[in-house]
Amino acid sequence: MNCIKLSFEEREATLLESKLFGYPYIPVGVAFPTTESGKELVFLAQFNLAELPALDYLPKQGMLQFFIFDDEDYGEDESYFATNTARIIYWPTIDNNAQVDKPLRNYNSDYLIGNKCVTIKGLLCQDNEKNPISTSKIGGYADFIQNDFRIGDLNRFRLLFQLSSSRYLNWGDGGNGYFFTDKDSIFTSNLFHWDCF
């Protein structure tokens, strides 16, 4: 299966670039994502799909965003479903007039201040189910550090984004964060999980 292996570069980025942290793209008139109880989520990453190599199971353009939450579990729910404290948001079209309208805080990192963030580049790769790529990637197979949590009905979810620990975010003790989406209904039903050594 094809996947996009990701590499990072620490520098200032525009609002519409693919990046980790910093300011997310928020269309004009749209509120910043919050939990059901109104607490703001933490912006983790966004991918301007037009900038990345194409994958046959992903749209060719639009903005794909990932949010987590500032708690002990980074927003992971016991059901694994990413509907409240973790979220995947996809914007099919990008509003070029979008502006940063509020200051954002950083998450678990001394490196990322204000507009400074980590830009992302992607390289098309072949992933192997038995020996999956362990670094950050879009698509492919999840490289679980502990165990695959998907049983029964959850097996219909495929890996969308795997973010491995880095100096920017350490999932526990060198772990990985995983976002999955429904194979048959992409972006509408999603899962979030993380594990560590």
């Binding site: 502990q146 695959d148 029964g152 526990g172 003790d173 050594f197």
Partner: protein
Amino acid sequence: MNNTDYDSYLKQLDDMDIFLTQEEENDLAEIARLSESVHSQDNLGKEIFDTIEKAAIDSIAQIVNLSDIGDWRPDQGAVVTTPLNFENEVFACEADKKRFEMWEDRTDGRWDVNEYRKRAPFNNAYNQAKQVHLNSTKRNDGSYQDAYTSKTLYCTSDERNWHIDENEQQKHDTTTTINVDHIYSVAGLSRDPKLALYSSDTQEGFEKDLSKVANNKNNFANTSEHINKSMRDKDTLEYAKEHPDKEMDLQKVREETHKANQAKTVETVKMAVKNQSVPFVKGMAKSAVAATGKKLVGETLTISVQEFFVEFRGKKVSDDGSLLDRIKRVFSNIWRRVKEELSHIWKTIAEFATNNAASEIANLVVNFFFSTAKNIFKLIRCMMGSILRAFKIIADSKRPMKERIFEALKVISSGLAFAAGAALNEVLDKAITTNLPFLAPISSEISAVISGLVSSILSALVLMAFDKHKDKMKFRAEQDAYNNLLVKSAARELTRTAISDQKTAITMFQTVKFIEEGIAYMAVKRDQILDNFVQIEDTNLEIKELALEVDTSQAETCLLLKQLKKL
């Protein structure tokens, strides 16, 4: 080695030149100035010099019998890279410096510690070890036991781990889901200075070494996903103490940590043998080489110190020629004594260490010590800085005398340790390269190991010496404190006795009062009981009278009944 060789070596000593650099000349000039200053102070003089000399020589005299364990915290450099030295950026060799730079990059975040986790060797080692661990800890019913809490755990896919909530949504329980925890976290290990020091000096090599420690089976412990994630990369025992709500059994955590620590130590020693010392470390540490080096350096230093003190004790510079002349005279005396006194030691050692590789190298050390005799001057020059600093401290009239002596001692002893290691390192390196060409590629490692051993010994020596003298200095204060405690204790006992008396009196008074009240109460009760007895007797009489009346009535009733029947 025969006597002719010795004579030849000894003769070279007579031909030596003495030269000093401009810097050393400047140091000597300052020593001279400070020396004058010292002698101008009434409360200083022979006593201080005697004390320092004795302590310094006592320290050095212990070299031969010391173990090779010790950490030294030098103010200005050292030649052995102990873990403490390592953290203080004091290195024995370039390789250790490189190790330090790599370690600093990891701890400061310049090098991403997570990089190695992305590489196949680490991942493969982890996955294999984890699977073996899981297989070996799985119970017959497919469950596992939490090593920290003893609770039962299940695999993520185990149905016993899932439940349906009130909204009919399937949820898993992180408190019963098994995770394999690294007792020493991978991130923590990558920041561990000891591991950094004893592991490889290449990035790739370090990653392999790290994997061996992190993925050692004894570094694995089953615990819940909840605890493993919550713990992040913190120390397991500290986390358990800080989070009683997690119900981790501290004794079990200690046992697991101890097991992991043992494995870590074993792996670290293996690394040290492989990376730091080459196979020589095993045999050489206890060999005649180390003994020879220790003895030679120790004795030479003892003589050097003695000569310096003999020359400068209580004498003004102007008493006996220029300072340079006096220094030269010290050197000459040192060599005279080295020739006379140490040749016997060297011969004994050479005869003792025979018929093995160690003895060959021991001979080489001895030989080279002679043939490159100028090295001893390097050693003395190394001490020069320490002597200068010691003089500065002694000349500082603002500080108490005891403190001055102690500080001067420390400086001189540190200088000695440094000088000994520096000299021996170079001597060994040259000796091995010249005389054992097949060992040339690793000569620097061998010499670093041997001189490291000597320096470790010297380091331990410095610590021991100062502990010893500190104790002596503290004794009087401690004795006073002890006496005070005794007095206080006696006073306390007297007070306690007085309080006890008071308490006893109160208790007795209360007891008497209680009994008095009790007796009065009992008298009242007795009267009441007597009254009751009278009442009971009266009642009995009444009952008897009533019974008679009843009997009479019954008789009359019977009679009437009979009369009625007749009618």
